[in-house]
């Protein structure tokens, strides 16, 4: 589905003409709805209510359209149909059929990036998600042609990444990726992204779900994002040296809209971390979240930078620094919004372990960090320590946290953020295990993610809890729900449905992990 618009400044038609034009265009195949109105305030609201708001189109107008400007908006199944409908509408309005079918040339799909550039010479950003072995050429061609790149593809050799990033830097371009999950540029979400208003907080991140968590918590505080620049997960490795994070930092430092900057990454290479921190000594406040890195270790070089240990902590800091109210973030105060002691009391003596099922790698990391501090070893496929690695064929071992989005689970099937089948399987087996005390799982909302996760998780949760109940167990399910009210799935709707299924829903992954820990740490004492 696409929304396309046409603006005709100072253009006036009576409503009969506009309605008949709209009707003619609406009757075209592939057209879902169309609006032709003067761009008054309430008409814009009307368009919004009719899912006809051309947000990006309006954002790029030099001046916002006003009541003397005619705005024609069409919602159609795809670009071609939308453009066709706008063309018909425009032709009807001008009622002179003197335009040739020049556009026939544009209707052929482009088969290479270069040909796409011929179709739109102003293209400035390439979103690339082809398989890793071919991603290099596409990214290289985009950079050579002066385009910024959002590179979702993974399995790009590190040498190639290094070379491409050098090319990007030499041309003053951003190469977000490889393996970049999310970004928000000029208010447009790329990849897996949440809908958030534009604001004063800028993010540079080497972690997709880490950035998503920050963005959602900032949105919860009513604040907005200026830009969110992904760098790809390997950017802060020794080999790459954090070039994109530094470039992103530079860009945000120079960006007027950005007042506070957050840098987020899984543990970076020591040398790189120091370089990044050195680069972060700028006039604007910079919040740094190096997950898993002991802030003490960098205390000597942190300088002006504000170090935070968790994503929630980082979001709270940034919101405060940007003049917002950190208490609006559902952080510590929200921890006891459910009656955790009561839940704990209901557990059977066999129920001793947390079973965490994550689709977001960074969220899983953060949970493991918090849990291991409180509970000791956490078995995992992406363990914090090598000796905590799950053996082949082992599903759970004691406290266990799985990153179901990592290669060994996603080979040959969609990522669990897109298709939850794998998560549901593990949810069922965790529920069947009498040692399971609590199931902790994440659900990530936003563009590209599954359309209505609650509709599949809720029945699964109800069933799992019922089954446990029959076996004489109470089975608390804690959900780390990462999303915003503006997301297509709607945060509040998902939360309501999941809570109705008996789940405890936290928007802060940290609080979700802490709640899970509270449920079992005491049961261990009792045991």
């Amino acid at each position: 589905m696409v929304i396309r618009a046409l603006l005709k400044p100072n253009t006036y038609y009576d409503s009969i003409t506009l309605m008949s034009v709209a009707q003619a265009a609406k009757d075209l195949p592939g057209v879902e709805d169309i609006g032709a109105v003067m761009a008054t305030e309430v008409n814009l609201e009307l368009l919004l209510n009719a899912t006809l708001m051309p947000i990006a189109f309006l954002a790029e107008q030099q001046a916002p359209p006003g009541s003397e400007d005619l705005l024609i908006v069409v919602r159609a199944i795809d670009e071609a149909h939308a453009q066709a409908a706008l063309a018909v509408a425009e032709e009807r309005l001008t009622s002179r059929g003197d335009r040739g079918n020049l556009s026939t040339g544009e209707m052929l799909p482009a088969r290479s990036l270069e040909m796409a550039l011929k179709r739109d010479e102003a293209a400035n950003l390439a979103v690339i998600s082809v398989t890793g072995e071919h991603a290099g050429l596409e990214a290289e061609q985009a950079l050579r042609n002066g385009m910024h790149v959002f590179l979702f593809s993974d399995n790009v050799p590190v040498e190639q990444e290094k070379r491409l990033k050098a090319l990007a830097i030499s041309k003053g371009l951003l190469l977000m990726g490889p393996d970049c999950g999310t970004a928000i540029i000029n208010g447009i979400g790329l990849g897996f992204s949440n809908v958030v208003s534009r604001g004063s907080i800028g993010i540079v991140g080497a972690s997709g779900t880490g950035m998503q968590q920050l963005i959602c918590l900032i949105a919860a505080a009513g604040m907005g994002i200026s830009q969110a620049i992904g760098t790809g997960g390997r950017d802060l490795s020794e080999a790459i040296g954090g070039v994109m994070m530094r470039r992103g930092l530079e860009l945000l430092a120079g960006d007027e809209q950005t007042e506070v900057i957050i840098l987020v990454s899984k543990p970076p290479a020591e040398r790189v971390a120091r370089e990044i921190l050195a680069a972060a000594q700028i006039m604007k406040p910079v919040v740094v979240v190096f997950l898993g890195a002991d802030p003490e270790r960098f205390a000597s070089v942190a300088g002006n930078a504000h170090m935070a240990r968790t994503l929630t902590g980082g979001a709270e800091l940034a919101v405060s620094l940007a003049g917002g109210d950190r208490r609006r973030i559902p952080g510590k105060d929200a921890l006891y919004k459910y009656d955790l002691p009561k839940e704990r009391a209901k557990l059977a003596s066999s129920q001793r372990y947390i079973r965490a099922l994550y689709s977001g790698g960074t969220l899983c990391d953060e949970a493991m960090l918090l849990l291991s501090e409180r509970l000791g070893p956490i078995a995992s496929n992406i363990p914090l320590r090598p000796e905590w690695t799950l053996a082949v064929g082992e599903t759970f071992r004691g406290h266990t946290a799985l990153d179901l989005g990592s290669d060994e689970f996603t080979r040959g099937r969609p990522h669990p953020m897109i298709d939850p089948t794998i998560s549901l399987q593990y949810l069922a087996s965790a529920a069947d295990d009498p040692q399971t005390a609590v199931i902790l799982l994440d659900i990530v909302l936003g563009f590209c993610a599954q359309q209505n996760p609650a509709s599949v998780y809720s029945p699964a949760i109800i069933q799992a809890r019922e089954k446990a109940k029959v076996a004489g167990r109470s089975l608390p399910v804690i959900i780390s729900l990462c999303g915003t009210e503006g997301d297509p799935q709607r945060l509040s709707m998902q939360r309501t449905a999941l809570e109705a299924a008996g789940a405890m829903v936290y928007e802060s992954n940290e609080m979700a992990a802490r709640a899970a820990a509270l449920l079992v740490s005491d049961s261990i004492h009792q045991a």
Binding site: T40, E41, E45
Partner: protein, 308 residues
């Protein structure tokens, strides 16, 4: 093509514009039988004499209109003043010297008004409008508003419905904040050069301006409500629409609307004359007439104090 003595009539509020020293305006919009001209923040409508008179209209002989309009382009310079209007690019000029003036404010004060019969006409008109099964604009809301019919939910109706109710209630209770809020929600709403929301506001404001003294159940005049509506709406809608609302708030309305309002003082038995006049109003625009009538009805109901 120097033409003179081609003006059939012009409306009284445009008179001061022609009295001034000549000044330059621009062609704003062009239609089949009409064109609008902007000038110093106001607007003149040059209409073919086939069209009804408007508060800001200068009507021309239809043959002249047909020759003129195809040559006009938006933005063309128009020179107005000293009883003449000249469009240099089209080599067009008109003189107003002996042309009759038309008064757009219906002479409501010369008649006796009876609240009972007006209320009966109002019921009749409501039913009449609902029976037309109107499409487009806000007119379809007549059933849900007054006849307890169910509301067909559309983005337009969802936005308009609460504000229509609020407009009527706030007017009865003379709650200016409520009026402002309702007006904000309706001004500029809907397609066209005079969006539906404005047409409703126009009809409503005209009632407040012209008949609130005679018809309100509490006998309190509500002319200030009309002014409030116009001043809140003006910056939120198209220039033309804002201007027409301003006229309406002074009781200056189109020829048909004026006629309809005057028929309301007829005895109840003469309802057919009322309906015929309503039909003429309805014939205006795609939904404009219906929307205006809806505003009229809403205003009349509000004056009865019977709005829930």
């Amino acid at each position: 093509m120097a033409v003179s003595l081609i003006v059939v009539d012009y409306s009284r509020p445009t008179h001061p514009i022609f009295l001034q020293e000549p000044r330059i305006g621009n062609v704003h919009s062009i239609f089949n039988k009409a064109t609008n001209i902007t000038l110093d923040g106001t607007m003149l409508a040059l209409l073919s004499d086939e069209l009804p008179r408007m508060p800001n209209s200068v009507r021309l002989r239809s043959d002249v209109t047909y020759k003129l309009l195809p040559n006009l382009k938006p933005g063309m310079e128009v020179c107005v003043g000293n009883y003449s209007l000249v469009i240099p690019t089209c080599n067009f000029s008109l003189q107003l010297s002996d042309t009759p003036l038309w008064e757009p404010r219906p002479d409501v004060n010369s008649y006796q008004w009876n609240r009972e019969t007006v209320a009966q006409h109002t019921r009749m008109l409501t039913q009449f409008l609902a029976n037309k099964q109107p499409q487009g604009g806000l007119t379809p809301l007549v059933g849900p508003l007054f006849l307890d019919q169910s509301l067909q939910e559309t983005p337009l109706s969802r936005m308009a419905m609460p504000n229509l109710r609020l407009l009527a209630q706030a007017s009865w209770w003379q709650n200016l904040e409520g009026i402002e809020e309702a007006t904000r929600g309706l001004a500029g709403l809907g397609p066209g050069l005079t969006p539906s929301g404005d047409d409703v506001l126009g009809g409503f404001a005209a009632i407040m301006a012209l008949l609130s003294t005679q018809l309100s159940a509490d006998s309190i005049p509500r002319k200030h409500i009309a002014s409030k509506i116009a001043s809140v709406a003006k910056p939120r809608t198209t220039k033309l629409s804002g201007l027409l609302l301003e006229f309406a708030s002074r009781g200056e309305v189109s020829e048909q609307l004026g006629t309809l309002l005057l028929t309301l003082m007829l005895p109840a038995e003469e309802f057919e004359t009322v309906l015929k006049a309503a039909d003429h109003v309805l014939a205006f625009g795609a939904s404009s007439g219906g929307d205006t009538l809806l505003g009229i009805l809403l205003g009349l109901r509000a004056l009865e104090g019977k709005i829930d």
